[in-house]
């Protein structure tokens, strides 16, 4: 680890019990424990969370926006996966 710059961490926060963790931003810290404490001070000063994940940004493997059209094509072409694809006659309910 260089003395100059600490690694970058992505911060995810669970707002309350029952919700998923959501990305809120990033910060720099020397290690994971300090990243957690910094995340608490920077992103939850007004009780915005009950649980925090920090992930070193280098470890996030992301899809490429310039290839997103091809990458997501398999879903785009299958409109029959949506209920609105089907005709339901008037008078049919609970469907």
């Amino acid at each position: 680890m260089s003395n100059k710059e600490w690694p970058l961490w992505e911060v995810f926060i669970r707002g309350k019990q029952g919700l998923n963790h959501k990305h809120v931003g990033s910060l720099r810290a020397a290690d994971a424990e300090m990243a957690l404490e910094n995340a608490r001070d920077v992103y939850t000063r007004r009780s915005e969370g009950i649980s925090i994940w920090v992930v070193e940004s280098n470890n996030v493997f992301a899809s490429d926006p310039s290839e997103s059209q091809e990458f997501f094509e398999p879903a785009d072409s299958k409109i029959y996966r949506h209920p609105t694809f089907y005709d339901v006659p008037d008078g049919i309910s609970h469907m």
Partner: protein, 315 residues
């Protein structure tokens, strides 16, 4: 061939902007868009960080424990806002260390308002009410900025700023209702901060070299003069309500337009402060440099501790 490609990509980029599709960090963007954002976001970050200094000056001398706790929380928020913004600049490829060094070398700018001194406790009121008020006016439209990370940071900042403005107004209101000396102190703070607060919106539209392109890219959503007018319109009645007088002999309400007309801003003073010749420019930068130098051992200790902890885990 390459020229054509760039033109075509810029056209598609502008189409996205026109359709209000947000730009995210890994998306293609024109170099000028990236540079404009890095400049604006880092200036904004620096303003938050330097902005801690005029108020930090009064933490140890707050008149009571409640005021002290509130002022501490406000200054801590400003540090947080600086951090959100430095992170947003990093998503565009800005190097954090370099960004901060640019502030310390004088290469990067920050809001000129923080180069004015805070002489009395009433200045804490004037800053919260006027400076944070003007900052909110500036920042609310940036919540709709085309660059996702900047827009999201602004949403957080704006949520937090509203308490800043209220606590400032409360200080002014309390002083204005106090003894004649206290009221005079509030009036004096208003006299000193009113014009610099109006300058916070930047040069007039005709003089602002970045406005047209930034509006086209939706980095900026309102012009400097529009925001300044909005600020005057909401602030004048607030001053009247607490019995303070704005230091502008030309200020009057125009019934036909529904807006207040106000006097000429001293632009010569504005440009002097921007160039580094304001009352506190040197002091602010010296303080930031000193903070970085004297905090070096803390950063080194944190790094050493992280290495020790990592070694213990792998043992």
């Amino acid at each position: 061939m390459k020229e054509v490609n760039i033109t075509e990509m810029e056209r598609k980029f502008q189409e996205k902007i026109d359709q209000d599709i947000k730009i995210e960090p890994k998306d293609w963007m024109p170099d000028d868009y990236r540079e404009t954002l890095i400049r604006q976001i880092s200036q904004h970050a620096h303003s938050e960080i330097v902005g801690m200094l005029p108020e930090g000056n009064w933490i140890t001398r707050a008149p009571n424990l409640r005021r002290k706790a509130v002022l501490l929380a406000k200054v801590q928020d400003e540090a947080g806002h600086g951090l959100y913004l430095y992170s947003a600049a990093e998503t565009l490829g800005a190097d954090r260390e370099e960004t901060i060094d640019d502030l310390h070398s004088g290469k990067a700018k920050y809001s000129s308002i923080f180069n004015y001194p805070t002489l009395t406790w009433a200045d804490m009121g004037a800053i919260g009410w006027l400076v944070d008020g003007a900052a909110i006016m500036n920042q609310v439209p940036i919540c709709r900025c085309s660059y996702g990370p900047y827009a999201r940071a602004m949403v957080r900042v704006c949520k937090e700023e509203s308490f800043h403005q209220r606590q400032g107004f409360e200080i002014m209101m309390t002083l204005a209702k106090g003894t004649p000396e206290q009221k005079a102190m509030a009036q004096d703070a208003l006299n000193r901060f009113w014009w610099p607060a109006l300058m916070m919106f930047g040069p007039s539209d005709g003089e602002s070299k970045h406005t047209a392109q930034s509006m086209k890219w939706k980095i900026k959503r309102s012009t400097n003069d529009e925001l300044r007018q909005q600020f005057v319109d909401v602030t004048v009645p607030q001053a009247e309500m607490i019995g303070l007088t704005l230091p502008d002999a030309d200020l009057k309400f125009n019934k036909a337009t529904g807006h207040y007309e106000f006097g000429e801003i001293n632009w010569a003073e504005f440009w002097e402060v921007v160039k580094g010749n304001g009352p506190c420019n040197k002091d602010r930068i010296d303080t930031r440099r000193k903070a970085k130098e004297e905090g070096l051992w803390v950063r080194e200790a944190a790094t050493a501790f992280a290495q020790k902890r990592a070694a213990r885990k792998s043992a």
